[in-house]
């Protein structure tokens, strides 16, 4: 490995990106802590919340990853008509606002849902979705797509030459190629999903069936909104950060380096494939689990889509603009950080995941309020915060690709005296297009669905689509809200597809 020889690039972009991340995560936490009147520590109920939070996050992340491995493997091995479309669609649940996804899930697994109607028709007792299993089901629904995408990327990053060599030598692909790849990809994937579930609030509460399912994030919400106890909120946010650091450390210890080496970007041909029906069955099951709830959202929202009020279209336009800006910023920041590399970047890359959206919003509010009307800055702040919150996903996609380029071509680049923008433009960018496009799409779509920060800042004139949808629900207009949700789903997927497609313009994979 030649990590020591890397062509020189400018320092300031990564420093600026790191500074923004630190400001929006630890800086906002600091702002909240600074305004706090310290007094109450953690209550017994808080400890119960911490316990529940960890247990459900471990289970959700574990199940997501375990299910994702065979599905990703099947998708990596098989070619079929509509595969690319399917992969894009499978990503959709991750991009949805919570309440939309929950209503979609309930249409399938709920009391009047497809599953229970089927069970009743067959003479069985209906099942209840609410409880710990409901929380995990919903979290798996949200995060399985992410796990599949990350692990699938791992599979696709194994050079075609390795498979050919393995076939020539009649060597076991699983042990020599796939297992080392999984050792490199799975711990990180697990970590990301664990951290997402760690800061879950609305899913856990809605699906959990009651206060048993109290998470740390809900306790933060209560502290901020109902008790106005900033000290307790800051303390709980620190607990979240501590859990994040601990988990990140464990994941880092469990991660093996990937010694795969460079390939010539040939199209992968597999010589070791048997049992197509098994793979197809796996793909079918995953698709059914993830896509049927989406279909229910579409069916529910379609009738009213033409009657949506003009304000919704204006909000949609605003959301698209914010998402575009957020995606550009997020990808630039990720690329800058990935080019820099190193331990600090790894830490920066997980911090936003552990940040409580509420604390970030409140902290940003406290930082800005003395200087400006919050509503004036609503869209800018939303863009910055969304770019930062999407950074871990983007970085996770881009950083390994950049590291691979550095390892494979760093010496060559250094010997040719390639540096700075020239090195990035000629060597790095063409080779990281695919993760770059994926990351941009993810950041754009995540920003589309965001409801956390905007709610604290926005007035009427800065309303984004998720906020408008939520306000429709608050005004009893559930049908219009369902149509707005469909619009949101469509736009998120479209933005994701355009970016993702752009990254794969010349690839036939």
């Amino acid at each position: 490995m030649a990590h020591s020889v890397i062509p020189v690039t400018a320092r300031w972009p990564s420093a600026a990106a790191a500074a923004l991340v630190l400001l929006l995560t630890l800086g906002t936490l600091g702002a909240v802590a600074w305004r706090a009147e310290w007094g109450s520590g953690l209550a017994p109920a808080d400890w119960a919340a911490i316990r529940f939070t960890i247990v459900q996050a471990l289970l959700s992340a574990g199940i997501s990853v375990v299910l994702a491995i065979p599905v990703a493997r099947a998708l990596a091995r098989r070619r079929f008509l509509g595969r690319q479309l399917l992969i894009t669609l499978l990503g959709a649940p991750f991009l949805l606002p919570v309440i939309v996804a929950v209503l979609g899930l309930l249409a399938v697994f709920g009391r009047g849902g497809i599953l229970n109607n089927g069970l009743l028709a067959l003479g069985f007792e209906p099942i209840s979705i609410f409880g710990m299993h409901g929380v995990i089901l919903a979290h798996v629904f949200f995060n399985l797509p992410l796990a599949i995408r990350f692990i699938l990327q791992g599979w696709l990053s194994i050079p075609a030459e390795r498979f050919r060599l393995a076939a020539t030598l009649n060597a076991p692909v699983g042990r020599l190629l796939e297992w080392p790849m999984l050792r490199a990809v799975v711990p990180n994937t697990f970590l990301v999903i664990f951290l997402i579930c760690l800061t879950s609030f609305a899913v856990a509460l809605t699906m959990g069936g009651g206060p048993r399912a109290t998470t740390v994030e809900l306790a933060i919400y209560q502290a901020l909104r109902f008790d106005f106890d900033l000290g307790r909120a800051a303390l709980l946010a620190c607990v979240q950060f501590a859990l994040c650091v601990g988990a990140a450390f464990l994941a880092w210890r469990a991660t093996a380096n990937d010694p795969m080496g460079a390939g010539l970007d040939r199209v992968v041909q597999r010589y070791d494939l048997g049992r197509a029906p098994v793979d197809h069955a796996l793909i079918f099951l995953a698709a059914a689990f993830l896509l049927v709830p989406l279909a229910m959202i579409i069916l529910r929202g379609l009738p009213g889509i033409a009657d949506l009020p003009d304000t919704i279209w204006a909000a949609a336009l605003r959301s698209v603009l914010v998402a575009t800006g957020s995606a550009l910023l997020c990808v630039s920041m990720s690329l800058a950080l990935a080019l820099r590399g190193g331990a600090l970047v790894a830490v920066i890359g997980v911090l936003p995941l552990a940040a409580s959206g509420l604390v970030v919003g409140t902290g940003a509010f406290l930082l800005l309020f003395p200087f400006v009307r919050p509503a004036d800055m609503a869209l800018v702040v939303t863009m910055l915060v969304n770019a930062t919150l999407a950074l871990p996903f983007a970085l996770r996609s881009i950083a390994p690709a950049v590291a691979q380029v550095n390892a494979d071509y760093g010496r060559l680049g250094a010997s040719l005296d390639l540096k700075g923008w020239t090195w990035v433009r000629l060597i790095v960018l063409p080779r990281v297009r695919r993760p770059l496009g994926f990351a941009a799409g993810l950041a754009a779509a995540l920003s589309m669905g965001d409801l956390g920060v905007i709610a604290l800042f926005a007035g009427q004139a800065e309303e984004t689509l998720p906020l408008a949808m939520y306000r429709l629900m608050g005004a009893y207009r559930m049908d219009a809200a369902a149509s707005a949700a469909l619009l949101l789903l469509g736009l998120s997927l479209l933005m994701f597809w355009i970016c993702d497609r752009g990254g794969r313009a010349d690839a036939d994979l």
Partner: protein, 329 residues
């Protein structure tokens, strides 16, 4: 390090903060989100008040009632708002404690089922909490009957939602020391607890539960706006806990006369007549033309329950513990 990251932010803010100097005075009213949407009372109230005040009435929306109070606490004495509209009696004690409010000075003949004497906060509408179910289905006649039945309901979390907190106070007021037992009985009726009203109501309409915690006035929305009479509120023998929504004038306002004028306007015809079919609550002063057609079909509880703001604040934490313990078993 800190200064270098901070400076560009401040510079950016200075650029954006080019507030236009307006000649007409501006009155800022901070309120909850659903008040200001195009379906809420906001637009009609704004038009009616601006017609008589020669001013610019601006609404600032901030989440729900609890978020509104948190926003005010975050902004503190520096807030630009002149009036805060949308708190309820459960939040009033904490709001009073901020010391940011001034006496409203309005003498109004309020049509509330209870006497109102507060000098800082003035009601603009009110309603009763109630479980809303489907017409024709089994309707329990009391909280206890509901708890003893196998009817399924969705409620909101008292830690994140004002109706959720309302139910907590309802049970506490009706049952006192036995409240914990009622919650234990109710536990198997509760399908789930949602973070806010919208999620719960949405789940009820999608058929996830037989009923949802909402207001006695909710069926009026379906009847008047959708011509759908299939939703009914259940009247309970214990009586119904009330939500009284109030507004207050901020002591630090730079438009004291306008703020006074708005507070007086708030209990006048122009404001009150839009409340029933936009906020779907009872107006604090019944308009001259009476309530809109359809409101006469709503149930009217015989007993109105309401804790004083101070009692509500004092009892909240213990009631919350009871609730959490009972539902965690």
């Amino acid at each position: 390090m800190k200064n270098t990251t901070y400076l560009p932010v401040v510079a950016g803010l200075a650029l954006c903060a080019t507030g236009a100097m307006a000649e007409t005075p501006v009155l800022q009213v901070m309120t909850y989100d659903s008040f200001v949407t195009e379906w809420g009372p906001g637009p009609a109230v704004e038009a009616a008040f601006e017609a008589e005040c020669a001013c610019d009435l601006q609404f600032v929306g901030a989440g729900d009632g609890a978020a509104l109070l948190a926003r005010l606490q975050l902004e503190g004495p520096r807030t630009e708002a002149d009036v805060v509209l949308g708190l309820d009696t459960n939040l009033m004690a904490a709001a009073r404690e901020t010391g940011l409010f001034a006496p409203h000075g309005v003498e109004a003949d309020l049509d509330l089922p209870i006497a109102w004497t507060d000098t800082e906060f003035l009601p603009f509408d009110w309603g009763y909490f109630a479980f809303v179910g489907n017409a024709g289905a089994d309707a329990p006649a009391s909280l206890q009957a509901l708890a003893d039945s196998d009817i399924k309901v969705v409620i909101q979390d008292p830690r994140s939602s004002t109706p959720g907190l309302g139910l907590l106070m309802w049970v506490k007021t009706a049952y006192g020391d036995d409240a914990a037992n009622l919650w234990v009985d109710l536990e198997d009726n509760i399908v789930t607890v949602t973070p806010g009203w919208s999620e719960a109501y949405g789940m009820f309409l999608e058929g996830e539960a037989d009923a949802v915690l909402s207001y006695t006035t909710s069926p009026a929305y379906h009847l008047i706006a959708e011509e759908d009479d299939s939703k009914v509120a259940w009247g309970f023998d214990e009586g119904h806990y009330m939500q009284v929504e109030v507004a207050g004038k901020l002591a630090g306002t730079d438009q004291p006369e306008l703020a006074d004028q708005f507070m007086a306007f708030m209990v006048s015809e122009g404001f009150q007549s839009v409340i029933p079919t936009t906020n779907w609550m009872y107006p604090a002063v019944t308009p001259a033309g009476g309530l809109p057609d359809g409101f006469e079909t709503l149930i009217t509880p015989e007993t109105s329950l309401l804790l004083s703001p101070e009692d509500a604040a004092a009892k909240r934490d213990a009631a919350l513990d009871e609730w959490r313990t009972a539902l965690s078993q």
